[in-house]
Structures are given as structure tokens and as C-alpha cells.
Homo-oligomer: 154 residues x 3
């Protein structure tokens, strides 16, 4: 087990089972050293943990916790792709979508939940370019969706 | 003509003419083996086939048909880039945007229209990572927009 | 100074200071020849230049100016990453998000502000694949957000 996966354990976090394809799409696709992950939502053991809108059903703080759940799901896919998360050499891009009320301006604060967790886990390798956007709706009414592009070792 | 393009024919589908640049952007850009396609909307022979919102003007079933139109437009650009769609080695990422009513939670069912068609055409090469999002509006009031990243042979 | 940076000067434009990380994310990440930029918003010298929605607070023309501000911020990050903008060999993908009223259909016209400026600066290298989307909200209520993927020389 790599240092990265030990760190996840020492943070008291558990990666979920790798997601199973829900249709004709996949949890990840790899091209060269680039790993494209599918959008991950707020699901745990088959149940949604956070649904409804930031700015209404959820405070920024609660939506930030929702973002952490998405990251763990995304990393379960990354581990399935890379064998061990120690093989992830860079988190390149995080596209963060927040299911939010009209005019919601605090998507960066919500997405910090994802960014902070990535850096807790990966250290400097976990720092990433990021785009935060508030949207009209997300799959299964998830409060947050995170789609990532990673770099993986040969 | 590759097996892939014969399959398109045998499915009774016809690729539209390659899109012409509507301004200072392009239907595609290639870097190494990665092909970035522009967002494709629900247009056929210069006319919109599906406008207005999923959850109001369109049922999920109707929006799913809209997603198929987008895929054919995207593949016309991919063919122009790759010469023949048989040179597409992987569909890497599908970003699917659904023009939908507030709180729309069924974007995955809509996007399955796109994913299923990609797999009908490309087989396993057509399976992809995907992010589905419902948004406030799309170009020309299109019901769906699909933006893809593909892998192309040398 | 490269021809590209001289052109920026001759257009009467000034690149802002490179953005400083506002949290655990970065203005850019590079993998091989691919440069992923963070989403850039309508900020100048620490103040927002355009907030509120296209279709309400802003006409298409005004939102188009907002898109130009985003591009300059994104290019400041690109310059920090690439040393000189003359090292940018292709603009690959522009993801353009417009903070807009429900059903806003003119995101392409808004994003032309970004696309035209990229071509003014980079010439043919600046032409790109693009996806335009209208969304419920953006960071700090920015009117436009631009996220780009660039190709950079070795």
C-alpha cells in the first residue's frame, strides 16, 4: 500500500467500492498518462448523502461536506484505473458543479471541500486547476458533482 | 470505408456535412493523439431539431433523441479531423449539458441517448467517462449540447 | 518578448499580474504539452468588473466585454506557466460559462468576445474548439467564466 493510501486510512477515510458502470459509460478512461474520470456524485453505499440545492437545502458548510463525498467516489475510480493511488502523479483539472439556487456565487467555497481533501490526501500532487460553476440540476438531485482529469504514472 | 462507418450506414444513420466554423472557433482541435471537439447542438441541415427545456417542452425520451442528434454532429467533426471514424481509438470524455427546468435530476437518462449511440457505433471503443449536468440555457435554445474528447490513431 | 506579447501591447492590452492561488487550487497545471488553466472570472486588480446576469444586468454586448476580461486573466496564468505566450502552440479548448437568465440562448455571441480576442492575439494558433453554456451562477457573481486547455511547446 502506497503512502497515499496509508494517508487516506490515517485520515479516517475509506474509499468506497469502485463504481459499477450504470449504462454505456465508464468510471474512467485512460489515454497515455491522462486519466479522465466520470462525474462523481454524493453517493455512499448506493444511497445519496446530499441532495437538493446549495443556498436552500444546504448551507455552504453542508455543501462542502457533499463535495468531499464526491472526491472519495472519484478516487475509488482512480484507484481502479491506476492500481494504487500512489501512481497518480498530478491532479490536473477539477470541474466542480454545484446544484444551487439562481445566482449562487459561493461555488468556490463549496469546492474548497474537494480541493482541500485532494491536498490532504495527495499533498502538492493534489493541487489542481479548477473551474467552479453553479448549475440548474445534477444527476439524482446530487448537491455537488466533481469531474476530474488526472495524470498517472507509466 | 471503415467498419465503423459501415456500421453507421447499417444503423440507417447519416453523418451530416462537417460543421462550418461559425466565428473564430473551430469544430475540433488536435494535440498529439487527443482530439477536442466543439460542443455540438441539436441542429440538422441548418435547422434546430430540438429546442426548449427537458422537463417542460421535452420529456426524457424526447430529450434522449435530442442527444443522438448532437452525437451525429460531433462525429461529423471527428470524421473531418480523423479522416475516417475508424481512426478513433477511444471516446475519452463526454460532457453532456441538458437545457432543463430548475432541479432537473434526470440528465443521466437523457445522456444515455448519446452514450448508447456511441457504443452502437464504436463498440467498446465508444465507452467513455461522462459528466451529465442540467443548465440554465444552451446555444440557440438547443435542448442538449455534447462536448467530447476523443483519442485518435497516429 | 515574443511577437505574441508584442501584439498584446500593440492592441493596447495589458496582462494582469499572474493570479495568486485562492486556496488549495492553482492557476494552472501542466502535463506533457498540455496546459490546464483554472476558470478565469471578470476580475481586474482585485475588483470584479462584471457581475450579475447576461439577459438582465448585462446585454450581450456588455457580457462580451466581460468575456474579454476573463481571457486576459487566463492568459496571465498561461504566461506564468509557459514563460512567454509565444510558447503557446495551440488553444485547444475553451469552456465558456455565462451567468445568465433562465433559457438564455445567446451564450455563443457572448463567448465570441473571448474567441475573437484569442485570435487577435494568437492568430490561427488561437482558434479553438469551444463549448458555450448558460449557468445558474458563477464565482463572486462573475458574469462570465472561461476555462481553457492549451498546448505548450516543449
Amino acid at each position: 500500500m502506497s503512502e497515499i493510501e496509508k494517508r487516506i486510512e490515517s485520515l479516517g477515510l475509506v474509499l468506497p467500492a469502485p463504481p459499477s458502470p450504470a449504462g454505456n459509460y465508464l468510471p474512467w478512461r485512460r489515454s497515455g498518462n491522462t486519466l479522465y474520470l466520470a462525474g462523481a456524485i454524493c453517493m455512499e453505499a448506493g444511497k445519496m448523502t446530499h441532495t437538493g440545492k446549495a443556498g436552500a437545502a444546504h448551507s455552504v458548510e453542508s455543501a462542502r461536506a457533499a463535495a468531499r463525498v464526491c472526491v472519495l467516489n472519484a478516487l475509488a475510480a482512480a484507484k481502479a484505473a491506476a492500481g494504487d493511488l500512489g501512481n497518480i502523479t498530478q491532479v490536473l483539472l477539477v470541474n466542480g458543479y454545484v446544484n444551487a439556487v439562481e445566482g449562487f456565487a459561493d461555488s468556490p467555497a463549496v469546492l474548497n471541500g474537494a480541493s482541500d481533501l485532494l491536498v490532504e490526501i495527495f499533498g502538492d500532487r493534489g493541487r489542481h486547476a479548477r473551474a467552479a460553476v453553479a448549475v440548474a440540476g445534477l444527476p439524482k438531485d446530487s448537491t455537488v458533482e466533481i469531474q476530474m482529469v488526472l495524470e498517472v504514472a507509466d
